[in-house]
Structures are given as C-alpha cells and as structure tokens.
Amino acid sequence: MAGRSQLPVQIMENQTRFDLNAAVENWRNELAAQPNLASDDRRELETHLRDAIAGFQQRGLNDEESFWLARKRVGQPPQLGEEFTKTNPAVVWRERIFWAALILLAIRLWSGISSMLWAIFQTAVTTPYFLNNYHSVSPFPDWVRFYLPLPSNIDLYDLLFSPSSRMVFNFLSLLPVLGIAWLLSRGRLSKSFSWMQFFFQSRRRFLFISVTLFLFYLLLLVNSLLRYESQPNDPSSSLIIVVNIMSLLYPATLIAVIAWLLPPQNQKTPKRA
C-alpha cells in the first residue's frame, strides 16, 4: 500500500523538478530589465523575495509554491520600477552616469594598453623580416618560405603600419570592453568581477588608487617627453607636450565624476546583480 502511494508522487516530482535557484535567477533578470530600478533597490527586493520564500517554506509549502506566492507578494517588476522612480529619480540617473563614466574610463585605459600591445606586435612580426633582409639569415629554409602564404616583406610592413589596419585594430580592440560591459549589465559575470568592488567601496580608496596610478603614468609621460625636449631645434616639441597633457584631462575628468558619485564613507557597495 505504502509502495503504491509513493509511486505517483515520485513521478510528479520527476516531471516538475522545480529549480528554485534558477527561478530566482530568472526573476532577478526580469527585475534587471527594469530601467528605473537602481542596483541597490534590486538587491533589497531580492533579499525580500528570499525572506518571503523562506517564510512560506517554513509553513510547509514546497519550493515552487513558495516562490510563486513570494513573487506575487513582492509585486510585478514593471510596477515596482514605476513606484521606485516616483520616489527618487535622481538615484537612477546617478547610477547611469556612474556606469557611463566607468565604461568610458575602461575604454580609455584599454585603448592605451591595446595600442601598446599593437606596437609590440608590429615590431615582433616585422623584425625577423628586417633581420632577414639585412643579414640574409632566414627564419625558415627557402623551400619552406616558398610554400608559406607569407606576403613579401614590404607588403606586410605596409599592411601592418597602414592607417586602415590601425583603425580595424582599434575597432576590434573595443569589442571585448563593450562585450564585458554588456554582460555585466545583464547580471552575468557579476561573480567573476566581484573583486572589483574593492576599488569602489569608498571614495577615498578609489581616489587614492586612481590618483596613484595617474601620477605614475604622468611620471612615465614626463620622462618620455623630456626626451623630445632634448632636441631643442624641433618646433613641434612644445606642441607635443601640450597635446599629451591635454589628453590626460579626459581620464582625469572621468575619475573625478566617478569619485563624486561614489558613497563618501566606507560602506558596502551593492553587488552588481
């Protein structure tokens, strides 16, 4: 008798295995799609949902019933977004500007790093060819070079150093930054990027780290600029200095904007959910 009554229950459980974590994850994504909810609000609502689910579970409801009841209690995501904006639209805009400034700064940093990598790549690829020309030492035997689809030295040089390949490279190097930004905004990757919270936990810490890095970069820049200055007859040297210093204004402004939007005291920043 007991064996017979257990059977249908087992079948039902197997058919509708409800994954609570996946359901909460879906709910979170639905909430993240609301443009009016700041991430702190979303996190708060999620803790509420989890508390409500736990409350129903304690009363003996199963995972699925608890989830749906809790979800109903908390309210529909679009409605929530509307109510939250009514009380404080400024918070949402602060967050948007914060993220925009952060992404612009990341793009600026990455474009600096990537152009350095590009320069290294250029020299690494072209150097063996020049060595080959000057010293007539080939990296490969002649018969290998005959079959390899390598362009001639001059072609490759032109290709790598042409402005159009530079533009293509600049565009391609932007893609990973934009991709990461998009994934972060969808709530993916939040775990792998949680270490970054360390930098943004307080205004003072962020300013300290970024100003230190900034000064370090300035030192490198001044050092390289001094070399220009050692050629006193070059009329463009002062212009180069001015242009380089001006180009620093952009990241400096972004750092100031981000610092301004950060909480002043050391308080826990919302997890990117």
Binding site: D40, T47, A52, E83, K268
Partner: protein, 117 residues
C-alpha cells in the same frame, strides 16, 4: 499604493510614516520583518504590499528620518537594515502629538475615554 483590507488608501499612506518610525524606534529592522510586524500588530487589518514598502522607506531615508546599512544576518544572508535617526525621533514625537490630537477629538465626539498625551 497599498492593498488594504480595512483601511482606506489615504489612511494607510498617512499612517505609514508614524508606524514605520515607531517600529524602528523599537530597534533596527528590515523590510520583510517590518511588514510581518505591521500585519501582526493590526491583526491583518493593515496589509502593506511588499514591494511598495521600500519607496516609503527610501523617502524617509532621504528626508533623514531613518538610516540604512547592509548587514549580514546570523543566517549568513545580507539584508538592508533600517534604523531611526535623531531627526526621526523628533519627527516621531510630532507625529505622536498630532495623531493623538486627532484620536482624542474623535474620542470626545464618540464619548470614549481619551488617552493622555
């Protein structure tokens, strides 16, 4: 704004401030606990919809009457706790006077024994 069983919408909206301040004057709390408490206190007559509580809390916070902090509960989960500020206590005193003034006027009209302020 609120789903209510007995109270009108306007009355629930007006009473949310003194209720929240009074609950927080008794100690820090978080959204879910506050709603449970209100439900318990009113015997189910005041039913706040869960998601709508937060805009009210955030407005009180912006007005400087309460403060908030993310803290880890003993279960290991983090929750946003709210606690009353000095300004909040002052505001609560004013609210108390006003609500009791209304209450006592009604009591006199209805010939019920009033409460001392």
């Amino acid at each position: 704004m609120y789903k209510t069983a007995m109270l009108t919408k306007d009355l629930v909206a007006a009473s949310s401030k003194p209720l929240l301040l009074s609950i927080l004057a008794g100690g820090e709390s978080y959204g879910y606990e506050i709603i449970q408490k209100v439900r318990e206190l009113s015997g189910g007559q005041i039913e706040w919809s869960d998601g709508m509580l937060y805009p009210v809390l955030h407005r009180l916070e912006r007005d400087g009457l309460i403060e908030s902090e993310w803290k880890e509960a003993d279960t290991g989960r983090e929750r946003k706790y709210y606690f009353i500020s000095t300004d909040g206590r002052k505001a609560l005193k004013t609210e108390r006077r006003q609500w009791l003034a209304v209450h006592n006027s009604l009591c006199k009209l209805w010939k019920i024994k009033p409460v001392s302020i």
